[in-house]
């Protein structure tokens, strides 16, 4: 009871602190509670914790975000591990509405094609050293032929690469129809044109039943010429900085606990880079080795590195096991490293908790455990974000990201998770998932 009160107070600490030191802080409070018994000492402990909480919240400032990785190799990306706060969401909606209203006010579809570029209209190069006064570039910016050629290239990319061939064709046809109707005539070859094309792609995709929030494609314009080569590899310093950041966050293991009745519980807010976290992951899984059942919580897991998901899955099998990865040329090995010496988890019941926020590499993990019938999936249908898109350079200034097609070599009869997500075995709300899994484990133990 007392430890629960302490745990409750610890949950009030800033999320960033809990991610970095939550486990240690909980352990520290448990240690104190074990040694400081009696009413006076317990009161003092709670007072200490309350004062510390107040001081921490008072002094807290958000930290800088992690440095983005640009090593150029295909991988799952963590865009943001945690969902936005309601206040941030409200501010975002308000800002979007204001931007949309401003755009509508200033957008003049009947303006003559040769109207000089206005500040903020986007057609003028915005970076120092760009060729804003180059007459050839100005001519190209309004050249109808160049515009038709660009639209045709974008349409061809959608048709060829979009994950759903039928919808890809429809998106392509719609763009070409807009172009034929002269709807892009007043727009110069710049940000305005890219924004308008993106709006048309989104409108068409919504009409075809793709829900809002699902990435389809995005056309980008760059005043500077787009690079033709892949980005340079990460430096040793960047790698070390990322490694230190991951270790500070306990390699995204938010909780590792052995609950009553020897139920191992592990919550992962992402799958960290295996090059930095292989050892931590091994220690975390080894700490659950004596559990009679496992609950793996990926409800707040936005993805990350498939290698770490594979490493964790390795503890759940007693022989090398194939894990389907939809990305063509994926760097993640195809099989788990099972059996792992000393591991006792391979035959223990496993429950995986999911939510609509579970995505990308977390879906890779859930999908394989489900089709292999190695785990019972409890919670909500996952997000359906495979994140296997790719960027296509169209010309020096335009490129586009497209949600790419699945590789065709899925050996399982169950369709992958792109867009549709993964249906749980036991469908309950994310908030109820833990309790449902815990009761299922108890019931199973009683009937053994």
């Amino acid at each position: 009871m007392f430890e629960n009160v302490c745990a409750l107070l610890l949950r009030l600490y800033p999320a960033e602190f809990r991610r970095a030191y939550g486990l240690e802080a909980a352990q520290l409070m448990r240690d104190r509670a074990r040694h400081e018994r009696g009413v006076f000492q317990r009161c003092r402990l709670l007072t200490d914790l309350a004062i510390d909480l107040f001081a921490t919240l008072h002094d807290w400032r958000p930290d800088e975000p992690l440095v983005a990785r640009i090593d150029g190799t295909p991988r799952f990306d963590i865009i943001e591990v945690h969902g936005p706060r309601p206040a941030a969401l409200a501010a975002g909606i308000l800002a979007s509405m204001l931007m949309f209203a401003s755009f509508t006010l200033f957008f003049q579809p009947n303006a003559p094609p040769n109207t000089p570029a206005q500040p903020g209209r986007g057609s003028a190069p915005e970076t120092p050293g760009a060729v804003s006064n180059d007459s050839a570039q100005q001519a190209a910016a309004t050249d109808p032929e160049a515009r038709h050629k660009l639209i045709a290239a974008i349409a061809a990319n959608l048709k060829e690469h979009y994950v759903d061939r039928v919808i890809g064709q429809q998106l392509s046809d719609a763009l070409l129809a807009h172009d034929r109707n002269g709807e892009y005539e007043s727009l110069e070859m710049g940000l305005d044109l890219a924004a308008r094309i993106n709006r048309d792609i989104q409108t068409t995709s919504r009409r075809r039943g793709i829900p809002p929030g699902v990435f389809v494609a995005d056309v980008v314009y760059s005043a500077r010429p787009l690079p033709t080569d892949p980005p340079p590899p990460m430096t040793a310093e960047m790698r070390e900085r990322n490694r230190a950041a991951m270790l500070r966050q306990n390699c995204l293991f938010e909780t590792i606990e052995v609950l009553p009745r020897d139920v191992g519980y592990v919550k992962l807010t992402g799958f960290a880079d295996a090059t930095a976290c292989q050892e931590t992951t091994g220690r975390a899984m080894a700490s659950l080795n004596n559990a009679d059942a496992l609950i793996i919580d990926v409800r707040d897991n936005g993805g990350g590195f498939g290698e770490t998901a594979l490493q964790i899955a390795g503890y759940l099998f007693d022989r090398p096991t194939y894990m389907y990865d939809p990305r063509p040329g994926s760097p993640v090995p195809a099989r788990t490293a099972s059996a792992i010496p000393g591991n006792k988890l391979a035959d223990k019941p496993v429950y995986v908790l999911t939510s609509s926020r579970t995505q990308s590499a977390a879906e890779y993990f859930v999908y394989n455990l489900k089709v292999l019938k190695r785990a019972t999936i409890v919670g909500e249908t996952t997000a359906g974000h495979q994140h296997s898109g790719a960027f296509h350079r169209i010309d020096d200034h335009f490129g586009m990201g497209i949600q790419e097609a699945l590789s065709a070599d899925n050996p399982y009869p169950v369709k992958g998770w792109e867009i549709i997500g993964i249906e749980p075995d036991v469908k309950v709300s994310a908030a109820e998932a833990f309790e449902v899994a815990r009761k299922a484990i108890e019931s199973r133990a009683r009937h053994r």
């Binding site: 909480l53 002094d59 500070r248 052995v258 220690r283």
Partner: protein, 116 residues
């Protein structure tokens, strides 16, 4: 994670450096050692303790080390810390600074006694 500044060395950070002067310790041991060396006047809460540890790690005053023991499930979540040469130098500098303060306090008759 936001870190307290270390110049001048805050009291909590100084106490942590002193706690680590003899042994490699994990968080709870550091907290207990600090409480002992301050006669129970300073009991570091988790927020103060770990934000100070983070700042000391970033400054290179302490380093994380392998525990060397495997006592069960709790061991995976414990991290052990060791005082570095830079940390010892910083602690010595802070101790010198405090000694100067004491000398002035004695000279001004604010503090009495030879040993404090």
């Amino acid at each position: 994670m936001p870190k307290p500044k270390l110049n001048p060395l805050p009291a909590a950070a100084f106490q942590i450096l002193m706690a680590l002067a003899d042994d490699d310790l994990h968080g709870y041991e550091i907290m207990r050692r600090v409480a002992e060396q301050t006669d129970g006047r300073t009991r570091l809460g988790p927020g103060t303790l770990y934000s100070s540890i983070q700042a000391l790690l970033d400054a290179g005053f302490i380093a994380e080390v392998a525990s060397g023991s495997n006592e069960g499930p709790n061991d995976a979540r414990r991290r052990y810390y060791r005082l570095t040469a830079a940390g010892r130098k910083a602690a010595r500098g802070e101790a010198d600074r405090l000694a100067d303060v004491l000398r002035v306090a004695r000279a001004k008759k604010i503090l009495r006694g030879e040993y404090v």
